[in-house]
Symmetry: C2
Subunit: 252 residues, 2 copies
């Protein structure tokens, strides 16, 4: 905790730095309680506001999180490893397994808030799916909850002309899910493009995903292509960034 | 701007929503100035603090940004499209081009803050690179500045035993860069793994990348493997999330 005279940064920043170092060195592990405002006031001889600011820095960085009435804790981060390429391999959905089964190991996955509807295609969706004026899309919305924690929101868009009358328009798409059904309809996905962005969540996204303060979302927009480069699905996903590591493995 | 009686959310939130909708519909485009506090006070009959909070919501989400003395503007987002797989294809660096030349189109790229040093391997790096106790690594740090805006910080670790005496230990690694040199040394990269995370930046990262408030960083950790799965490089990258779209294209 020693500070040199030429360290002109604000005191709360220096206290935050020393706490961060203690976390990085393992002195405080995931889920451990950090020193509270009173502890920091006593240890550093600072006012309550300074102690509070120091803890806020770590919360804003997503390193720590408040638990109501219990204090500030090192965030426990047991992220889901999402192997972008392997999980979409044809052997996966082609053999009736869900894409998610590749990700979740033995954890409990619940899919809730499922809605399926026929809607006018949003302009950008219509462009990417190569639709004509007035064509509609089948819109599938759902939320994925892992071990009780919402981790992902997904909205898929598929051309009505392709999926009408199939199980894709039902809540339960059946074994192998949407991609297995597309294959049966003659539109087997053979190529995928995933685009990844990150930003802070909107209020609604934060509520739906129960995201802690100082945590961004990762956006993945996936387009599935059938033979001859025909786009057959767009899936817009919003992920709690603290719940995920995305992995892509590929050859040079 | 009409609100119904049963909309119980705070007024600043509803003002923020209407501004966000106006941005999404294109009424305000990238770089456009948004209504200021005075405009919002007059239009909605609210106090200055409420108007300020409404603008803060959009800034926190990364949708808008303040420019000193000039107001609040829709963020101009002309992201770099980083094609994760194509850019690392052997034809790229094998023919003497830099990996970056695949990304930047006609924009101006400056690489600055380059340092190269021999260091003790951090524990986790040593484990992934399969090093023995006491082995050192060549550490290459640099910053990438695109059109005057810092967009990425990168730190590469390579086993000293592999790269000693080669141009990889120099500031300028020569045509095709590190991967072309590794190939000449008999360690041609044939496989890559990229792991992607996102979180809020630390104070230092925000300063080095000149990141606006409310913008996360994307972390990419890439491991390059030579024949027989031998790991030869780890590259830890920190990206300004507002400057990037990551794209991965692959077959089912």
């Amino acid at each position: 905790m020693a500070t040199t005279d030429d360290d002109r940064r604000p005191k709360y920043q220096r206290i935050a730095d020393s706490l961060r170092e203690a976390i990085q060195s393992g002195e405080y592990g995931p889920g451990d309680r950090l020193p509270g405002e009173n502890d920091l006031m006593a240890a550093h001889g600072v006012a309550r506001m300074t102690a509070r600011q120091a803890l806020s820095v770590l919360k804003d960085e997503g390193v720590a999180e408040s638990r109501k009435g219990a204090g500030v804790f090192v965030r426990s981060f047991r992220p889901l490893r999402r192997r972008g390429i392997q999980r979409l391999a044809q052997e996966q959905w082609g053999s009736g397994r869900s894409i998610w089964s590749a990700d979740i190991e033995n954890r409990t996955l619940v899919v809730d808030q499922v809605t399926v509807s026929e809607e006018a295609a949003p302009e950008q969706i219509g462009q990417v799916l190569d639709l004509s004026e007035g064509d509609t899309v089948c819109v599938r919305r759902r939320r994925f909850v892992l071990d009780g924690k919402p981790v992902l929101l997904a909205t898929s868009y598929l051309p009505t002309a392709v999926v009408a009358g199939s199980a894709i328009t039902q809540e339960d798409t059946g074994p192998g899910g949407t991609y297995a059904r597309l294959a049966e309809l003659g539109y087997k996905p053979v190529h995928f493009r995933e685009e990844i962005r990150s930003r802070m969540p909107t209020k609604d996204e934060a509520a739906q995903l129960r995201i802690s303060a100082g945590t961004p979302v990762i956006l993945i927009c996936r387009t599935a292509f059938a033979d001859e480069g025909r786009p057959v699905e767009i899936n817009e996903m919003t992920l709690d960034a603290a719940s995920y590591v995305l992995e892509y493995d590929f050859d040079a």
